[in-house]
């Protein structure tokens, strides 16, 4: 069963690039452009990894992260935060709120894929263990 990746970003071109990358890596991809959409998708799509942009219109990325962490089903979902803002305080906040990783834009595609694979590896292993 292919892993599911949810891409949350409001920048159209970035979404295109991420979509390409994820699909090329063989994952099933869903896209959300707003905070509300993101929450809906977490519910319905039930992704294994969420690529979450911090600067979103409406609900911001941190709040979405909190929501995800509060939901029992998605407590262990891997969340990788993406942001153009790179201040240390933001990174700390994100990690403290429960993000698994924090990647600043512009990112290296190689690095991004590696991170995704790493976090999927964990849950993959987790899945194989529990299955």
């Amino acid at each position: 069963m292919p892993s599911k990746v949810l891409i949350v970003d409001d920048e159209a071109n970035i979404v295109i690039s991420l979509e390409f990358l994820m699909e090329q890596a063989g994952y099933e991809v869903a896209v959300a452009r707003t905070g509300e959409e993101a929450l809906e998708q977490v519910e319905s799509f039930n992704p294994d990894v969420v690529l979450l942009d911090v600067m979103l219109p409406g609900i911001n990325g941190f709040d979405i992260l909190q929501h995800i962490r509060q939901r029992p089903r998605s407590q262990s979902t891997a969340v990788i935060m993406l942001t153009a803002k790179g201040r240390e305080v933001e990174v700390t906040k994100g990690l403290a709120l429960g993000a698994n990783a924090y990647i600043t834009k512009p990112f290296s595609t190689r690095e991004l894929l590696a991170e995704v694979r790493r976090h999927l590896g964990v849950s993959e292993d987790h899945e194989t263990l529990t299955n």
Binding site: A12, M55, K85, F107, T109
Partner: protein, 921 residues
């Protein structure tokens, strides 16, 4: 005869009016809307100083000794200067200590002594009786004279009578009845007689007006003006000396003594004390009264000398007593109504004095003489049932009658050739005896009760011997040689020449000796005696009156037990059940105590009850009454001193603390203010910092976003050389677009930074705005056409050239146009551009028919990186810096940029640029 009936009718009507005013005044007071609470009524009420003595007697005295009538008025004028200090202290003390009479004042000061209060009362009564007789004399004489109209003859005492009794007796009973009606209708705890004050103020006005009327009549009608009178009088040497300053009429020492005497009189006459001190409603009134009252005296005395001179000239045959000139002159001139008015004026002056003095004296007698005696001899037993309020009122009424009768008797038996003035001066000298003990009491802590008693007794004896006794010696059958060579031939005991002191008139002589003995005894005995604990505490209260809070004195020199029921029962006996209940509830409420639940009364309740009673019966009697229902333990002086000492220490300490606290409060308030300022400044700094941070982080974000795409797609293309053409083209396209976006952004950020820093370069030339706008529309057309949006331009005639930077204004136009196109609906969009001239500016409007801008967005679109439009519909293209840059450019040239819009109604962006004549940059 009809005229006689008219006189009586007029008199009755006047008295009725007076009573009506008093009644109305009391009614208004009950309702709480006082009629008299202003300084003018206050000053007028003190005009009761001017009695029939002033009205009739001044002229009489002026006819005899010229300006010798003046000292009586100079004295009060001088005293008025000191009123703000002395009178105000008296008022404050009286209010705080609930003083009801002048005897009460003295008694209270010297340890609530009933003996002192009684003595003062007796002296006051005896002293004022001659004064009352003076009024009776004047009214009777004036009535009789007027009755004989048109004949103008002085009445002799054994003249016309009505119904068998002579006139004076009728007048006596009439005045007594009037005074009873006026002043003894009910008991009042506050002893404020508002109706009385109103009536007295009214009669002050009446007598002033009447006297002025006769003065004007005599001066300007009978004669040709004041100049005429004085000219004619100057022709007669006997008259001339009356108004010239020469030694035969002017006795400087007599003047001095009389002035001094009247200074004391204005303070201590019972009626003056009543009006000035007890009826005072507001200490601030004293200030105005200090000059209003002397003014009144001045005005009422203006015509005294002219009338006197006129009378001497008209009645040169001496057919009329000089005292009656005031009435005689209009009579002889045939002016009936004026004569009647003058009579009413004199009646007014007399009744004013009689009413107030008898009320004051009767209150003194009931509170300070009768009540203590009744209590002492257990005729009145406060611990037992009975209506004692009624007893008090009855005592007062009887007193009034007795005093009036005594006045009448004095009138009958004294030397009737004595002028009105000298009778009055006898009374003045009597009340002057109060001065040492009174003034000493409020300024000298050393004055003791025994000293006061000694002084009063001594002074009174000397006064009695040298004045009234001498005047009435013939009653006792004492021969006239008594005056000439002294009792039993002892020369130095001659009443008018004690210790062989000669050269002084009887009044000055008496005043000198009586005050000498009085002061000597007061000071001497005070120094030799020790004051009791209560005396000391009272002395402190009186002397430090201005620093004592009214009910706040915490030293209760009282230790004892009393039940609430006993206290209540006793209060009811004097105040009545309903009023007692109300007073107790009010007091209980103010202290948060329910008296029905407590059995034992505390010290404060007892003190309060004593205060309530003092208002009705005087402080001394109240003390006795309270003492009779409580089991009192008397404190030894040591205990009291210790209490006082502790209290004063504590008070001093707490005052220090208070002061320090206030200083600290001030400091902390200043600190707070400074801290608040600092906090505000800090917040502002933080905000600016935040804004700066925000700007930087936003710029960072905005720059990194296109970079992300550029990098990501570059990498993808690099890592996937076999990517399909379609996608390759697409991705390359994105890279290019994002590069452009990035470049644009960087340029704009730098541009804005330069503009804001004022570091931009401006190339200002003469520009035709129409041409510029046209060119900008041309430049924007491709973009507009692509979207299907039309751009129309309207020019309002020729426009003058302006001096601006062409490229920059072009930048503004392109920004506005691209925004307008961006937000116009595709296909049906219409952008309208107008250039108009208004006053000294050119205005350009760019309107679109798009969705409009909401009010919230209107506020933020000129902010950096902020863009209008619904966020959920995706971010609109553009950097969000266009408008801020345009605004900067426009304002650089002295114009302004703004937007007008409503949702669904499109938007119009407008900017103005000043015309060439205004700005040349």
């Amino acid at each position: 005869m009809w005229f006689g009936a008219a006189i009586i009718l007029a008199a009755l009507i006047y008295l009725g009016v007076l009573f009506g005013i008093a009644y109305y005044g009391d009614k208004r007071a009950d309702r709480g809307r006082s009629l008299i609470n202003n300084p003018y009524v206050y000053a007028l009420s003190m005009g009761v100083y001017c009695t029939a003595w002033t009205y009739y007697g001044s002229v009489g005295r002026a006819a005899g000794t010229g300006l010798g009538f003046l000292p009586i008025y100079i004295g009060p004028t001088l005293m008025a200067i000191l009123w703000w200090f002395v009178l105000r202290k008296m008022v404050r003390i009286s209010q705080v200590n609930r003083i009801t009479t002048i005897a009460d004042f003295m008694a209270s000061r010297y340890g609530k002594s009933t003996s002192l209060g009684g003595l003062v009362t007796i002296i006051a009564v005896i002293g004022i009786v001659p004064y009352i007789s003076l009024q009776l004399d004047a009214v009777a004489a004036s009535f009789t004279m007027l009755w004989n109209y048109p004949q103008a003859v002085s009445a002799t005492t054994a003249s016309t009578g009505l119904g068998g009794l002579d006139t004076a007796l009728w007048v006596t009973f009439g005045m007594a009845a009037f005074a009873i009606l006026f002043g003894t209708r009910h008991l009042d705890v506050t002893e404020h007689h508002e109706g009385l004050v109103a009536a007295i103020a009214f009669e002050s006005v009446v007598k002033l007006v009447a006297f002025l009327a006769v003065g004007i009549f005599v001066t300007f009608v009978l004669f040709g003006g004041p100049g005429d009178i004085f000219q004619r009088a100057a022709a007669d040497p006997a008259l001339a000396r009356l108004f010239t300053f020469n030694p035969s009429t002017l006795d400087y020492s007599q003047w001095a003594w009389l002035t001094f005497l009247s200074m004391l009189a204005i303070l201590f006459l019972p009626r003056q004390f009543q009006m000035a001190v007890l009826e005072n409603m507001n200490e601030a009134h004293i200030r105005k009264a200090s000059w209003l009252f002397p003014l009144y005296l001045l005005v009422i005395n203006l015509f005294v000398l002219p009338i006197a001179l006129a009378g001497l000239m008209v009645f040169s045959d001496g057919s009329i007593d000089a005292d009656m000139f005031v009435l005689g002159l209009p009579m002889v001139a045939g002016s009936e109504s004026l004569a009647l008015f003058v009579f009413i004026g004199g009646l007014s002056a007399a009744t004013g004095m009689v009413i107030v003095d008898t009320v004051a004296l009767s209150t003194m007698v009931s509170n300070d003489l009768a009540m203590p005696l009744l209590l002492k001899f257990r005729v009145v037993r406060p611990g037992q049932r009975g209506d004692y309020g009624g007893v008090l009122l009855s005592v007062r009424r009887v007193t009034i009658v007795v005093i009036m009768v005594l006045g009448y008797i004095y009138f009958r038996v004294t030397d009737t050739t004595a002028s009105l003035v000298s009778i009055g001066l006898i009374s003045f000298a009597a009340v002057a005896q109060f001065a040492p003990a009174f003034l000493g009491g409020i300024y000298w802590k050393g004055g003791t009760r025994l000293g006061a008693l000694a002084g009063l007794v001594g002074g009174f004896v000397v006064w009695a011997y040298t004045l009234p006794l001498a005047a009435t010696h013939s009653i006792g059958g004492v021969p006239d040689s008594f005056l000439a060579s002294g009792p039993w031939g002892i020369g130095w005991l001659r009443p008018y020449n004690l210790f062989n002191l000669t050269g002084m008139d009887p009044v000055s002589h008496s005043l000198f000796w009586s005050l000498f003995v009085n002061i000597g005894a007061y000071v001497g005995v005070s120094l030799l005696s020790r004051p009791s604990a209560l005396e000391q505490s009272q002395a402190s209260r009186f002397i430090n009156a201005f620093t004592y809070a009214p009910e706040g004195d915490a030293v209760f020199l009282w230790r004892g037990t009393a039940t609430v029921d006993d206290l209540r029962a006793m209060l009811e006996r004097f105040l009545g059940a309903s009023r007692t209940a109300r007073l107790l509830t009010d007091y209980g409420r103010s202290r948060g105590v329910d008296w029905s639940a407590t059995h034992l009364a505390d010290a404060e309740l007892v003190q309060h009850a004593e205060r309530l009673l003092a208002g009705v019966m005087g402080t001394a009697s109240a003390r006795v009454a309270i003492a009779s229902v409580v089991e009192e333990e008397s404190l030894t002086i040591d205990e009291v001193l210790r209490m006082l000492d502790e209290t004063s220490q504590v008070r001093a300490y707490s005052r220090q603390l208070e002061q320090r606290t206030r200083q600290l409060e001030q400091k902390s308030r200043e600190l707070e203010a400074a801290t608040a300022e600092l906090r505000a400044a800090n917040e502002r700094l933080q905000e600016l910092d935040r804004m700066k941070d925000d700007f930087i982080s936003t710029v960072t974000h905005e720059l990194r976003t296109p970079l992300t795409s550029i990098r990501a797609f570059s990498e993808i293309l690099h890592d996937n050389p076999d990517l399909d053409v379609k996608r390759r083209v697409h991705f390359l396209d994105i890279i290019l677009k994002e590069s452009e976006r990035l470049t644009r952004l960087i340029n704009q950020v730098l541009d804005l930074a330069k503009l804001e820093a004022g570091a931009a370069e401006w190339n200002t030339t003469e520009v035709d705005l129409r041409v510029l706008v046209d060119e900008s529309i041309v430049a924007a057309s491709p973009m507009a056409q692509e979207k299907g949006v039309a751009i129309h331009a309207h020019f309002d005639g020729d426009v003058p050239p302006i001096w601006v930077d062409r490229d920059r204004i072009m930048q503004v136009m392109l920004n506005l146009l691209s925004n307008a196109v961006k937000f116009s609906p595709a296909g049906s969009g219409l952008v309208q551009v107008a250039v108009t001239q208004a006053d000294d500016v050119l205005q350009v409007d760019v309107s679109d028919n798009g969705p409009g801008i909401s009010a919230e967005d209107q506020a933020i679109i000129f902010d950096k990186f902020r863009q209008g439009g619904d966020q959920s519909r995706g971010r609109p293209q553009g950097t969000g810096l266009g408008l801020p840059i345009s605004a900067q450019i426009v304002s650089h040239f002295g114009g302004s940029l703004w937007v007008e819009s409503a949702p669904d109604a499109g938007a119009t962006f407008s900017f103005t640029l000043p015309l060439a004549s205004e700005s040349r940059r």
